[in-house]
Symmetry: C2
Subunit: 718 residues, 2 copies
């Protein structure tokens, strides 16, 4: 069932309704009343006859009217019975406020499972448990008991009640923007992040989605949904719990695991989500994205009065990856006619006191600058809004006129303006006028920078969307009969991993380039195989019982000539038997030795929140030293594969150095995509480890390949 009857419910019952002012069950009803909820309100409490003038019911099932939503304020232990009763009444959704579930040890986890079972049986959707509640600001269904929440166009999903309170407070005192919905995600026991996303994506009152996240229960489905949603509406997210202590802190109150921070961040960004690191910039970025057109060319002009703010803004925007292009010659000439001699017209444009007697010159400059085709958006830093305070009161009216002009300019040009003002604290009318036109105003230069950079980042994303594939595995579609057989055999033999030659065969089946390797079973076969290869060769034992091949004397390198190869065959066999007399031995794998080239590492791992992730980096002897690897959530597109390659710190190694030629990036990209396809084609893979992969000027060679199988109980789908 969709969330329409839950989030847009037209009737609400409050279980635990109370006459005591300090009780949640009182505050909820009082707030529904005061804020003017448009639907029906039913207090439920067997001990009361009426609450705040409404007749009170013993149970939800006793209510005669239709009930879509139920707010449950009673303790954890009472929930199963109440849910069953709600089921009888056929309610669509409930909010469970109580803690004491998944976040509180095994007993809590069991109780959480129980209530979810009951809810599923009755097709009741559950918000929480362990949540501050939810609000629909457009119908005034306020189930949080918090007064004066500003109404607007941002849907807020938060995993922390006090962060929600912070954001709501910030909106109320510093902005003209507000919220369409608030959802306290709680333990995500039933309703999960991605389901709210799907709803808000279609909601006409929502223009941007703001999220505070500590950990997710199903990161993969969230990402799949986010890929859809961000095409239509921006998502702004702060993901905390990055540090070890932060994770503990998050764990201690949400019951969900905080995840690998680097993987998570890049995964979110690939899905078009604007990831915010500083909580100060969280609401501002959402406010800006909800109100202003995005930036189409990643370029911003800075307009300042005085150097300091301009310099700080230039530093910060550069950090954020935004271009600050020099103004065109014509633009500079026009600006010079307006500004004093000491002014800078390059970019940042510094009017250098040129507005002291006429702050409207800032609107003149803004108009000239936004008409420059190099400029995608404008950041104004400094004193605007306070020339009346700093110089002469009458300048306030001039600033108001300038504000109207800047507001209309944004509309006419389809380019955004964001303003920093050190007089923001005084709440001058001119700044309120800017906000009326959706131009946000901040007292922090850095927050202004982050906000306008969010418009640039979102613009970039939408522009590049064409290049993206869908974030969905074409499950099993590309699997091969022979590939399925390999896994089937390994499972039947109860192995934890494929043999190296099987792993390589699988990669070959999916189009991966491999060295020519052969499995041999006698001295004669070994000699014959070697003669068909370039000298020297490598020889490795193949046995399900010998995990540490080198220790067992099962790996020999750099072998030449029939005699040496034949002797080595026998030597390896003997060592293997000495190492483990009962070991099953399937033969010896022979391969030409890799010469020269650059050692790389590729592989996949399984992340708790996001499922399979792929890794790429510098391999061989340098892997432990450089720790130069990048991760991405699978599957990956061609573009992402290319970016992974470009993103390693030592990318210049790929260009060749000290005389060695550049390596074959196309082949690397191709192998990464092959790995992505393999993981998507079979459900058996826990982990892939190709190390080293040798990259040459033309082509690659996979020198060693390991594919670990999932445990039987983990054979779930991602």
């Amino acid at each position: 069932m969709g969330l329409e009857h839950v989030l847009n419910a037209t009737s609400v019952a409050v279980v635990g309704a109370s006459k005591k002012e300090t009780k949640r069950g009182y505050q909820a009803i009082k707030t529904l009343l005061n804020q003017g909820f448009e639907g029906r309100i039913y207090p439920v409490n067997p001990k009361e006859k009426s609450v705040l003038g409404f007749p009170c019911y013993g149970k939800v099932s006793e209510i005669e009217g239709h009930v879509e939503m139920v707010l449950i304020t009673t303790p954890a232990a009472t929930i199963p019975e109440i849910l069953d009763d709600c089921g009888k009444k056929g309610v669509a959704g409930v909010v469970i406020v109580a803690g004491g579930f998944g976040e509180m040890g095994q007993a809590g986890k069991d109780l959480e499972k129980e209530i979810i079972t009951i809810a599923r049986k009755h097709k009741i959707r559950v918000i929480g448990p362990n949540t501050s509640g939810m609000m629909n600001l457009h119908t005034n269904m306020n189930l949080v008991g918090l007064k004066d929440v500003p109404k607007g166009h941002i849907a807020l999903i938060s995993q922390s009640g006090n962060m929600a309170l912070s954001l709501i407070t910030e909106a109320a005192i510093k902005s003209r923007q507000g919220f369409s919905y608030y959802v306290g995600i709680g333990n995500e026991a039933d309703l999960k992040f991605h389901e709210y996303l799907g709803f808000f994506q279609e909601d006409p009152n929502t223009r941007a989605i703001l999220m505070y996240v500590e950990g997710m229960r199903d990161g993969r489905r969230f990402l799949q949904q986010a890929y859809q949603t961000t095409r239509k509406k921006p998502i702004i997210m702060l993901k905390s719990g990055r540090s070890a202590t932060g994770k503990l802190s998050a764990g201690s109150h949400t019951g969900a695991l905080a995840g690998m921070s680097e993987v998570a961040r890049t995964a979110f960004q690939r899905a078009g989500i604007i990831v915010i690191e500083d909580s100060d910039a969280l609401f501002p970025a959402a406010e800006t994205l909800a109100g202003l057109p995005h930036i189409k060319n990643q370029s911003v002009a800075i307009l300042a009065d005085g150097g300091g703010h301009a310099t700080i803004a230039a530093d910060k925007l550069t950090d954020l990856g935004v271009n600050i292009p020099p103004m065109g010659e014509k633009t500079r000439e026009k600006l010079k006619t307006l500004l004093p001699v000491g002014a800078s017209t390059r970019n940042p444009v510094d009017i250098a006191g040129g507005g002291d007697e006429n702050p409207a010159v800032l609107a003149d400059c803004a108009e000239i600058m936004l008409h420059d085709p190099k400029v995608g958006g404008l950041l104004v830093v400094g004193l605007f809004g306070g020339y009346n305070i700093r110089f002469a009161e009458s300048l306030g009216f001039v600033e108001e006129d300038a504000a109207h002009r800047m507001g209309k300019l944004v509309k006419d040009m389809g380019k955004p303006i964001v303003v920093h003002s050190l007089y923001n604290y005084a709440r001058p009318h001119s700044l309120d006028l800017l906000r009326y036109y959706n131009i946000p105003v901040y007292d922090s230069v850095e927050v202004g920078c982050k906000s306008i950079s969010a418009l640039s980042e979102y613009g970039n994303y939408l522009r590049s969307y064409q290049a993206k594939r869908k974030f969905i595995f074409s499950k099993g579609k590309k699997s091969k009969t022979r590939g399925r057989e390999i896994f089937k055999k390994a499972r039947m033999e109860r192995r934890k991993a494929l043999y190296e030659h099987e792993a390589k065969e699988l990669i070959g089946l999916h189009g991966g380039q491999l060295s020519r390797s052969r499995l041999v079973h006698s001295r004669e076969e070994a000699v014959a195989a070697a003669s068909a290869m370039d000298d020297p060769v490598a020889m490795k034992i193949v046995s399900p019982d010998i995990l540490h091949k080198t220790e067992a004397g099962g790996v020999q390198l750099n072998l030449c000539g029939d005699q040496e190869i034949g002797d080595t065959y026998e030597h390896i066999m003997e060592s293997a038997v000495r190492y483990d007399q009962g070991a099953r031995i399937h033969g010896i794998l022979m391969e030409p030795m890799m010469k020269g080239g650059l050692e790389l590492i590729m592989g996949t791992k399984m992340d708790d929140q996001f499922g399979p992730v792929i890794m790429f980096g510098i391999g061989g002897t340098l892997v432990e030293v450089l720790k130069d690897v990048v991760f991405r959530v699978l599957p990956i597109s061609e573009r992402t594969a290319r970016r992974m390659i470009e993103r390693i710190r030592s990318v210049e190694l790929l260009n060749g150095f000290r005389g060695s030629p550049p390596v074959d990036r196309k082949a690397i990209k191709h192998l990464l995509l092959t790995i992505s396809e393999i993981v998507g084609s079979y459900n058996d893979i826990q982990e892939i480890d190709l190390n080293p992969v040798i990259a040459y000027e033309e082509g690659l060679a996979v020198a060693d390949a390991r594919i670990l199988l999932k445990k039987d109980e983990d054979l779930t789908d991602w």
Copy 2:
């Protein structure tokens, strides 16, 4: 002359005094009057008889009374004459407001030189030019014309007028702390950063020094002063102009060069300066350091009400390098008796709603937590100050009591508390009480974190100060007679560099470990030299005329046996002559080949602001790829040498990898200190380049050494 009569002047003349309200020459006198300047005021303007009731003088020299300080508000061209006149009167200092000097092309630079020459002649100290002015808030000598600047204990030095205005505004509206002095540094034409530092260090009204810097004229003297000052008082600095555009922006209005950002930051931090990256945290960090005891063990406890803020704070403090130790068992037991079941007592401590009916529980927790010896300071995040707003009005009084208790706790324990409150905007009385006790309160979790981390960073610095040497070269003290001869000879021969063998000899003279190398002049000498070395050897041409030795066939490696070595001697000589018939040839340098080992790079460069800087990193074939080098301003202490080694990204290469043994870190440290000593001992060195230096399990070998000489015109002292 000291700055006493400048910054603490008891009499002020204002040149350019005016009756027009919009003129700086009016505002200055009006402000001196209104703010209650304690000294004498003399307007100077030949066109006026009187200004604001004071008699007006035609020139400064016509004033009959004593004049210590002169504020000059007239344009650039008028300054030389006015300065000369001030000289006649014997004034101590002037503020030159006008722009049009060093920041404005060659003509401006020339004019700046001229006025400094005049000032020096008369022993007048100059603030500016191109400055917003200066203020002494304790005598109310306000030469900026800015009203209502809060008085307090922070000395502010700013290279941007609008940043100063931002910081002053922030202090006025968000803090109870204020300023002892403000200095607009302007072009730093005469008075430089380090001179103000020296003055503020001794000033009894100053507890912390706050700086906004874009570029410095003499970074080295500033650092030398900062090493002294930070032992007594904290310095808090934002250095902007990091990015290319930021540098341009800074350059466009200060006339000073913005410097290498990484070198600058580490140099400042080594001198004990608290470097701030975000302007939002700049005043808060100064406010906190001016009012609270520093943290002695780099450890902070977090006290929160609700998870979100706690998690964000834990992430941020971790990023900032602050420890968040788990509370001791006894502490946790005590906390548990106070808090509800859902609370966390580890660290962060989350009272989880435990203050809803009694916010004083936060003071109880604070007391328990600060008594834990693991806790060096406390960060309170969340709702404190707003329980009366969120829950019931009467709780405000309880919060006030809690504020008094926390304030006294800081005094009693000598440990700091910093508070974040999302109700800060409402200015509740309880939060003002906290500020009365010097406990700062912020609306941003991140700013709170940065502020308390500044206390930790400063505490760390003071603790480690014992380990530091003075930041002064013992000029020439350790130079050797033979070393001076080497440089003298090279200069006489008009060479740009020392020969390799000279460079190596110099390093040897100062105790650096070297390979045994010999300069030979015949086939026979070459063979004899080789027989005294281990096979194989390297041979290199030594000629002042052959810069590119390899191109000239002048470098041959891996040579063994008398025949090969003899032939190679002749071959090299022939190649050299073919390459350049007129080349002077001093012989061939013979060395044993370096075998195995790890290639490092060491060297020095000359920075515009900070003079000689030393570099250390991974060398050889990896240097271009890894770009893994660290820089520090010279001279370095043993501790800094050790830290440089630890700071490279690939430090694990030094520990040995894949079977190779760890390298000799002591020898590396020793060679770094040798380089530091050499640069300090001779004034001739422009650049040193030792690449590669081969590090072994025991000892090093300098495989190639280049020492470039300064140009004659650059032979100034650092």
